[in-house]
Amino acid sequence: MSLELLMVVALGGSLLTYVLGRVSSRLRNGFAVLVSLALVAMVASLYGKALHVSYYEDFLGMSLVLRVSGLSWLFAMTASTLGCLSVVFSLSYMKGKERTSFYYSMLLLVNAAMLGVVLSGDLLSLFIFWEIMSWSTFLLISYNGGPALAAGMKYFVMSFVGSLAMLAGLLTVYGSFGTLEFGGVAAGMLSASPGYILAIFVLFGVAFGTKNAIWPFHAWLPPAHSEAPSPFSAILSGILIKMGVYGFLLIIFVLVGLRNFMALGADGLPLHTVLSIVGAITILFPTFMAIMQNDAKKLLAWSTVAQAGYIILGISFGTSLSVAGGVFHFVNHAVFKALLFMVVGTVEYRTKGVRDLDSLGGLIKKMPLTFAVALIGVCGLIGVPLTNGFVSKWLIYKTLILERSPFLALVALFGTWGTILYSYKFLHNIFLGQLPEKYKDLERAPMTMRLPMTVLSIVVVLFGVLPGIPLSVINSIDTSFGLKPLNVTLWGLASDTGALNTINILAAVFAGLLIVWLVLKSGGRKVSVDQADNYAAGAAIPKDKYQYSVGFYAPLTRMVAPYLKDFMDSFYMRLAGWVGGLGSGIRRIYTGYVGDYAMYIVLFLAALIFVQLTWSPW
C-alpha cells in the first residue's frame, strides 16, 4: 500500500464528494462513507511497516516526504477511524441541513489533512498539511453561523499565530541544516546549541500548544468545540487537537531527541518541568471551568482542555511509563470524547438543537442506549476501573509518584475528582431527573447514530479490560523513541512496584456485581413507579418544575467563581480590541483632505533630504 495512493484517495475523495453532492445526495453519502472506510482499511494495512517516500522532489528546492512509523500509524489509525465514524454519524445528523456537500467534503478534507500531518516525513509537508487542516477546520467551525462565527475567528487567529510561529521555526531549521527531513533535522540537532534548540522548541511549541489547547493557548477551544457541528466536534476534540500531541512527541523524541530535551535548562528551570507545570495548570483550571458550564458541549470542550493536560503531563516526563500513559491517554481520550460529543449530537438532533443543561433532563427514559454509551464514555473520562481511561491515568499517576512529583500527582488526582463533578452534571442534567413534558414523545436515536456510538463504547470497555492490545502498539512506539520497553501483558502491566492487573479487578467487580444483583433479586417484590410518583412532602409534583438542574453546583460556584477568571482569554480579547483600536487610530492618518496628503508627500521628501544632509546615513 503506497502512501501516495492513500493521500490521493483521501484528498481526491474529499473533492469528489463535493462533486457527487451536486449530482445526488444519496450517492454522495454513500461515497463519503466508502472513502472513509477505505482510508481506515488502507491505514490499517500499513501496520508495522516503515515506509519512506519522497512524493514531491522539488518544492522550492525542498523535497517533500511521506513516511509511516509506529507513532504516525497510531495517530493515522485513530484519525481515520474517528473520521469514518463521524461521517457515519453525520448521515442522520446533517440530514436536512443546508450545504451538506460542503460539509462532507470539508470533513473528509480535514481527515485527509490530518492523515497528511501524521504521515509527513519532513517539516514542510507537515506544515502544508497543518495549514490545510487549519483552514478547513475553520470553515467547519464557522459552518453553523451565529455565535460560531466568533468561535471560528478566534480559532483561526490563534491557530494562525501558531502555524506562523511554526513556519518561522521550520525555516530557521532549514536555514541552519539545509534540510527539513526528520532524519536530517535530528542529525543536525545533535550538535546544536541549547539556546538554539530552546528557540526552535518554543516556536514549534506555540504551534503545537495552540492546536492542543494547553493552558495559555486554550482560549479558542471552548467556543470552537461548542459551536461546531457535533460530529465535527467529535473529530475536533478527539483527534484534531491531538495533532498538537503528535507534534510534541515528534519534536521531543524524533527531532530534538529526549536527551537534548531533558538537558534544556537543566541547570535552572528545566524545560520539561515547565511543560509539566503547564500540563498541571491545564488540568486544574479547565476542570473547574467545566464544572461551571451550562452548555453540554462547552462543558465537554473544557473537559477536553483538561484532558489534554494529562497527556502533556505524561509526555513531559519522558520515561517509558509516562510516555506510554500520555500516548495511551490520547487514544482513550479520542475514543471517549468523540463518543460523548456524539451523545450530545444525538440529543441535539432529537431535541431540535437543545444542548442547554438547564432545560434537558430524564432522557434516559427515551434514549436508553444513548444513555448507556454516555455512561460508558463518562466512566472512561473519569477513569473508572475497567474502562480505558483508568489504565492510561493509572500509568500517568504511577509515573508521577515514582518520579517523586507528588504535587503534580495531586493535581492529576484532584482533577479526576473535578472530572467526576462535571461528568455527573453532564449525565444528570441530560439523562437523569425528570423528563420535561415537551420531550414526552422523543424517539430514540437513529441507527446511523447508534452504530458509531456503540462501536466507540465497545472500544472504551475493550481497552479498559484488555489494555494489552493498545499498550503493545504503544510499547513499540516507546522502543522506537529509544525508551526502555514496558513489561506489557494482555491484562495490564507486570512490574516491580505496584503492578496493574485488570483481570483481578474485572473478576472482583463482576463477582461483586453478581452477588449484589442476586441479593437484590432475591429481596422482595418491586413495582415500577412513574417519575411523577415522587416524595414531595405529600404533594403531587408539578410537571416540568421538579427538576434540580439549574445551578447544580451553585454553592461551589459561589465559592470558586470569584477566583476563576479566564484571564488569558480576556487578555486575548483585549489584544484583539487593541489591534482594532490601533487600526482605527492609524486610519486617521488618511484624513480625506488632499492638502494633507500632498503635505505628506512633500514632508516625506523633505525629511529624506534633511536626514541625509544632516547625518548622511545613506
Partner: protein, 489 residues
C-alpha cells in the same frame, strides 16, 4: 522572433482604433482590449525563452545606447509584461460583461492606454521614456477612476490626480537633475556614472525620483490616494490598479534604486519602510467595514511586504518578493473581480451587506475565498510559496533584526488573515435575512475569475513553473554590471 516593440505598439495602435471601431459598433469595440491583451500575452510567452537565455535590448531609431531610447527586455521586464498582459486579458474579459453602462468606448481606449503605459514602464531602458509611459499610465487611471461619474469617483479621481501630479512633478524634477548631473537619460549610462557623481545632488535626485514614483507605488506615507481611488473606481479598474498599476510603480522604484543608483545603503531603510507600510496597511484594513477599501488597504500591506522582501536584497528574498508580486496580482485581481459582482448584486460595499452571498453567488464567492486564502498565504494556493520564500530569504541571513522584522511581518499576516476570514465568514456562514434567490455573475465574468483561480492553484501546487523566471529576475536586479553590459555593449 517577434520584436518586443510590438508589445507597446500594437496595443497603442489598437487603443486609438477603439473609438473608430466604436463608431461602427460599440459591441465590437469591447473586444479590442481582449484581442490586444491576448496578443501581448502570446508575444510575451513567445519572447520568454529567448529572454531567459539572454536579455533583448532594442535600440529605437537605429542609434546605439546611450544615445537612443532603448527597450530592455530582461527577465524582470518580461515577467511584468506577462503579468500585465495576463491581468489585462482577464480583466478585459470580465469587463465585457461588467462595463455595460456609460461611455464604454472611452473606457476601453483608456484601459488599453493604461496597459500600454504599464508595459512601457517595465520595458523601457530610458529614464525620460519611463516618465512618459508613467504619465500615460497615471493619466488614464485618473480618468478611469472617475469613470462612473458619480461624486465619489470624481472626488477621489481629483485627489488621485493632485497627488499623482505632485509625484510626477517630483519625478520630472529628479529626472531633470539627473540629466544635469550626467548629461544622459539612459539608465545603464547613468548607472555607470552614478558611482563617481557628487553624492548630495545624486541623493537629491534619487530622493525626488523615489518619492515621485513612490506615490504610485503606494509606499507609506505616500499612499493616501490609494484607498479612495481603488474603492471608488469600477471594480475591473480597481483590479487593474491594485494588480498592475501599483506594482508597476514598485517596479520603477526598485529599478531606480537597484539598477540606476545602485543605492544598497538605502535598502535597509526601504526594508523598514516596507514593514511599516505592511503594518499600516493591514491595521487600516482590519478596521474597515467597506470591502473595497479593505481590499485597497490590503494592497498597501502587500506592497509593503514586497518592498520588504526585495529590500533584503538576497537572491532568495527577491525571488520571494517577485513571487509575492505575482501571487498578489493574481489574487488581488481575483478578489476585486469577485467582490465587484457581489457588490453589484447586493448594491452596497458594506461587508455586512455581503451576507448570504455564498448561497446566492456560490461560484463568485468561491473565487473570492480562493483569492483570500491565497493572499493570506495558505497552502495550496499561490500565496503560500511566495510567503515561504520571503520568510526563508529573510531568515536565511540569521540576523536578529531581520528575525524581529519577520516577526512583525508575520503579525501583519495574522491581522490580514483575521480580516479576510471575517469577510469569508460573512459571505458564507452569516445567516442573512435578505434575499436568497440565486444571482450568479455572468458566464464571461466567471470565466475570467476561474482563469485566475486555476492559475492560483496551479502556481500554488507547482511553484517551479514560474520559479525559473523569478530567479533570473532576481539576478537581473542583483547583478547590476550585467544590465549595464547588456545595454552598453
Amino acid at each position: 522572433m517577434v520584436s518586443p516593440v510590438l508589445l507597446i505598439v500594437i496595443p497603442l495602435g489598437l487603443a486609438f482604433c477603439v473609438p473608430l471601431i466604436g463608431m461602427v459598433s460599440k459591441r465590437f469595440a469591447r473586444f479590442v482590449p481582449v484581442v490586444a491583451c491576448l496578443f501581448n500575452l502570446v508575444v510575451s510567452v513567445q519572447l520568454l525563452p529567448a529572454v531567459l537565455s539572454k536579455p533583448i535590448v532594442v535600440d529605437l531609431g537605429g542609434f546605439g545606447a546611450p544615445f537612443s531610447i532603448n527597450l530592455f527586455v530582461g527577465p524582470v521586464g518580461i515577467l511584468f509584461s506577462l503579468l500585465i498582459a495576463l491581468a489585462g486579458f482577464v480583466v478585459s474579459l470580465y469587463a465585457l460583461a461588467y462595463i455595460d453602462k456609460g461611455p464604454t468606448t472611452r473606457y476601453h481606449t483608456l484601459y488599453l492606454l493604461l496597459l500600454v503605459g504599464a508595459t512601457g514602464v517595465v520595458l523601457t531602458g530610458d529614464v525620460f521614456n519611463l516618465f512618459v509611459f508613467f504619465e500615460i499610465l497615471c493619466i488614464s487611471s485618473y480618468v478611469l477612476v472617475a469613470y462612473r461619474g458619480d461624486k465619489d469617483g470624481v472626488e477621489s479621481a481629483v485627489k488621485y490626480l493632485i497627488q499623482g501630479a505632485l509625484g510626477s512633478a517630483l519625478l520630472l524634477t529628479g529626472i531633470g537633475l539627473l540629466y544635469g548631473l550626467f548629461g544622459t537619460l539612459n539608465m545603464a549610462h547613468i548607472a555607470v556614472q552614478a558611482g563617481s557623481a557628487d553624492p548630495i545632488p545624486l541623493f537629491v535626485a534619487m530622493a525626488l525620483i523615489v518619492v515621485g514614483l513612490g506615490v504610485e507605488a503606494a509606499i507609506f506615507p505616500l499612499n493616501a490616494w490609494l484607498p479612495d481611488a481603488h474603492s471608488s473606481a469600477p471594480s475591473s479598474i480597481s483590479a487593474i490598479l491594485s494588480g498592475i498599476a501599483i506594482e508597476v510603480g514598485l517596479y520603477a522604484v526598485v529599478r531606480m534604486v537597484f539598477t540606476v543608483f545602485g543605492a544598497s545603503s538605502m535598502l535597509s531603510f526601504l526594508m523598514f519602510l516596507g514593514v511599516l507600510t505592511l503594518l499600516v496597511g493591514e491595521l487600516c484594513a482590519f478596521a474597515q467595514s467597506n470591502i473595497k477599501r479593505m481590499l485597497a488597504y490590503s494592497s498597501i500591506g502587500q506592497i509593503g511586504l514586497i518592498i520588504f522582501a526585495i529590500a533584503i536584497a538576497t537572491s532568495g528574498s527577491i525571488t520571494g518578493g517577485f513571487f509575492q508580486l505575482v501571487s498578489h496580482t493574481l489574487s488581488k485581481a481575483l478578489l476585486f473581480l469577485a467582490a465587484g459582482y457581489m457588490i453589484y448584486r447586493s448594491g452596497s460595499m458594506d461587508i455586512s451587506s455581503l451576507e448570504g452571498m455564498g448561497k446566492r453567488m456560490p461560484l463568485t464567492a468561491f473565487a473570492f475565498a480562493v483569492g483570500a486564502f491565497s493572499l493570506v498565504g495558505l497552502p495550496p494556493f499561490a500565496g503560500f510559496p511566495s510567503k515561504l520564500l520571503i520568510i526563508r530569504g529573510a531568515l536565511a541571513d540569521g540576523g536578529a533584526l531581520l528575525a524581529l522584522l519577520v516577526g512583525l511581518v508575520l503579525l501583519g499576516t495574522v491581522i490580514e488573515g483575521a480580516y479576510f476570514f471575517r469577510v469569508i465568514q460573512t459571505v458564507f456562514f452569516k445567516k442573512g435575512d435578505g434575499e436568497t434567490a440565486r444571482c450568479e455573475a455572468p458566464a464571461i465574468a466567471l470565466v475570467s475569475m476561474f482563469v485566475l483561480v486555476a492559475l492560483i492553484i496551479v502556481i500554488g501546487v507547482y511553484p517551479s513553473l514560474i520559479i525559473g523566471v523569478l530567479n533570473s529576475a532576481a539576478s537581473e536586479l542583483l547583478v547590476r554590471a550585467d544590465y549595464i553590459g547588456r545595454v552598453l555593449g
